[in-house]
């Protein structure tokens, strides 16, 4: 436990340059996607095994709070994907390490260019859904009629 605390503290304290933040972001994004995925595959399997549970789950997912979580998930998948490709390229092409600092900047740049419009699109979807007069903040009750 103390070594865990030490590792966590030192991870944040180490002031490496861009690559260090990429490493933390890659790790957190990977773990976040996995947390979602472990729930997601079981929840989706209910479409076959227990349809009322599935109906309820997707009704819950339509709550605006989950909508924000989905935007975060989209960002996590995109960043982890682009940065993962960067890691793979550098692992198999050591001679490209000369460009390592530049590659970090490129990944963040491509990520922002792709993610920001998608995030705005998703956010505007949530806002317009909540503007239809329906009480979008209410949580669904089980079973969904």
């Amino acid at each position: 436990m103390s070594s865990l605390m030490l590792t966590l503290r030192e991870s944040v304290r180490y002031r490496g340059r861009g690559g260090h933040y990429s490493w933390i972001a890659h790790r957190l994004a990977g773990l976040g996607i996995l947390a979602f995925l472990m729930i997601h595959v079981w929840e989706t399997a209910m479409a076959n095994y227990n349809p009322p549970v599935y109906e309820y789950a997707i009704a819950v997912f339509k709550h605006p709070l989950f909508g924000l979580g989905e935007i975060g998930l989209m960002g996590a998948v995109l960043f982890h994907a682009f940065n993962g490709i960067r890691i793979t390229l550098l692992d198999f092409k050591p001679e490209w390490w000369r460009h390592q600092a530049k590659s970090v900047t490129i990944v963040w740049g491509v990520f922002l260019v792709v993610f920001v419009p998608i995030a705005i699109y998703m956010l505007s979807g949530i806002i317009s859904h909540c503007g239809h007069g329906a009480n979008c903040w209410a949580f669904p009750t089980y079973p969904v009629s």
Binding site: L4, L31, I33, M38, T44, N48, E55, K62, W97
Partner: protein
Amino acid sequence: MTTYSGVTHRKVQVQSNFERYAFLFMRLSGIALLILAVGHMIVQHILNDVHSLTLQYVADQWSSWGWKVYDMLLLFIALPHGINGLRNVLEDYVHGESAVKTLNTVMAIFLIVSLLAAGFAIASF
């Protein structure tokens, strides 16, 4: 040993075969997921209409062989990739030998049961 401007790299003997394959698997599955996982997010969030997600939508998807295969590939690549990633992360923070063994067993069982349950849900729909 070869030296490029400022970068030194050398061939080293890698100890365990399993770790070598795990390393390669993470990179190859990553490339596959670039298409499968990002594609899945685009399909679910940009091509479809959100609030049109219903049981019927899933039934339509899984009545098509193409989407069944797509979801199967996604399932069988993303979950092992994520669990092996988790194993890598835990290795950095957990050092006791028996604790590592217990965690690895729990993760392996969870992975196998999830793949069977979710895979069967797709196959038998």
